[in-house]
Symmetry: C2
């Protein structure tokens, strides 16, 4: 006889698996009628919701988790990640809560990691690097692990979410470059299945009215260099390139210089994420500081509330500030693209 | 009746508490005679080594830990830390092992964190930011938690250790500055109770033959700026300043410029840890790359071996490379201060 699963219970009750999970965990509002149907199905099938039950019983690991399915190098070379973790830790330290940080490769390892977290290793998780239609969202919902999504996730989901306006700073930089006389403006994006990369690329395409020159990078210096070479080899090369992070921008800048181009006279360049040294480069790099520490703090606070049983909610943390610097031929100045909200 | 403790057992057996712990854990070589004495005392007093027993029983948390007693900002703004963690994670990922990262403030919170780790949350710990006579070394020994010391710890200890030669790159930079004609060379160190800060400062003092100009900083930009101001206000100001990290060096460089000094003509400046953007600064910053990722990998491998019962051992990971750049008026070049060993 095959083991009864949550899917069998859902089918018998005529609801989704997520609803079964919510009805049992009490974490989400469910009508009494639905809850009764679910409990009747559970009874009838004799189902033991082992994973959820264990997770509930163990909801005092005093730890929250971040699982990263990226190359571990990202921890060292991405400006976002260390600052985000620092913000998370500053909130966790208040309650002597640990952060479980796990790097995995491959989907199976990632699923095992989340199962082990839900089985008592952690009380909740923060979800970074959100993809369009991210499989982890329904998966974590089914595991019953309190989760906070970090990013502007547009599909339906039952979790708390920290949103950011990724489009506004891109529109601002395009406007600034146009004012400086640029018409041929390229964008080297991050991987387009990331929700933030896509939101930025869409804002760029929208601003360019059909004249877009988009190349999809992967945030590494190598891709910044290769795509810059490709763009500069075009018969009608761009006079400005907007990169999705500072690492790609600096690699592009070095390549352009090696080809005899002067920055910003021959080519204007902008980055994103504002590395703590970008203002000190020569030329100083135009970039967007996004205050990842503030997002880390807000995400950790939301997760703490969720673990204690609060209703999931969405919070917008818009700390994006465009820093116009020499690499786009501006005088050094800061333009706040959105009203700053302290989370 | 008060509960029997490990101290009572140690007293009855005429050995140290650490020896009791080792005799029971089997983690360290102990003579049969000593082990017999300890076991007799355990028997006689009816002692239940709860913590060690639990730790042994749970030695499959499949997690290792790093506890940081520093401001969480260090995770974002220190070039060493994120790269070290990336190296650790690259080894842990092979065995789907998690890293428990906990920031604590105050010694009591730190002790609680280590106790909770030893009670089953982690199979072992990596000890960073080693101090001269570090209280954590005997404390972790008593907890029986496998530990790897990251740094050239000179006191006696029972653990595995990743050593680095902190003195060699300092001697090399002093020699380079002397060759360029500098006589008045200052050093802005890190906190001198850190073993690495002290080793570097001692190498500097040794090289200066009584002419030292040492100021103790704390690795922050603020202290780099304040101590630079102090040094430049001296009646006979230094013509070169060696900083213990790049963050302090860049803050010092900005301050010196704000006072009308030209770098390197009026003041030569060097950093340490070689931030990934330091080579791109203007002037490019002379610094020492120390390959923290290699140290992270080596430390994680040693810890894994220790957890599996290997004898503790000391490994030297000397990846320090001095990068002479424009800020000390050199042509760009790299000088390997020690033979490179791949761990």
């Amino acid at each position: 006889m095959s083991r009864t699963t949550i899917a069998d219970v859902a089918r018998a009750a005529g609801v989704t698996k997520a609803t079964v999970s919510h009805a049992l965990s009490g974490n989400r509002p469910i009508s009494e009628e639905t809850r009764a149907k679910v409990l009747a199905a559970v009874d009838k099938l004799g189902w033991v919701p082992s994973q959820s039950a264990r997770a509930l019983a163990n909801r005092h690991a005093n730890a929250v988790a971040v699982v990263l399915a990226r190359n571990p190098d990202v921890i060292a070379n991405d400006s976002f990640f260390p600052a985000f973790i620092a913000g998370v830790e500053s909130v966790l330290a208040e309650s002597e809560t640990a952060l479980v940080l796990q790097v995995v490769s491959g989907r199976e390892a990632e699923e095992r990691a989340y199962r082990s977290l839900a089985n008592g290793r952690a009380d909740g998780a923060l979800l970074l690097d959100l993809r369009v239609d991210d499989w982890r969202v329904p998966f974590l919902d089914e595991l019953g692990l309190p989760t906070v999504l970090v990013g502007a996730y547009d599909q339906q989901h039952p979790f708390s979410c920290i949103r950011t306006d990724d489009a506004a700073p891109i529109r601002d930089i395009v406007a600034h470059l146009r004012e400086a006389g640029h018409e041929r403006i390229a964008h080297v994006s991050g991987p387009l299945d990331y929700v933030h990369s896509r939101a930025r690329a869409e804002a760029y395409i929208d601003e360019m009215h059909g004249d877009e020159l988009l190349r999809e990078g992967d945030f590494t210096a190598a891709s910044g260099r290769a795509l810059t070479a490709e763009l500069l080899a075009l018969p009608e090369r761009p006079t400005a390139i907007m990169y999705a992070n500072d690492t790609m921008a600096i690699a592009g800048l070095s390549y352009a210089r090696s080809q005899g181009l002067k920055i910003p006279d021959d080519l204007a360049i902008s980055g994103f994420d504002d590395d703590h040294l970008s203002a000190h480069l020569s030329p100083a790099l135009t970039s967007v500081s996004s205050d990842p520490a503030a997002r880390g703090r807000a995400a950790a606070r939301l997760l703490r509330a969720d673990i204690l049983g609060a209703q999931p909610r969405t919070e917008t943390v818009d700390c994006n500030v465009v820093h116009l610097r020499e690499s786009t031929s501006a005088q050094s100045s800061a333009v706040s693209t959105v009203s700053r909200r302290t989370p």
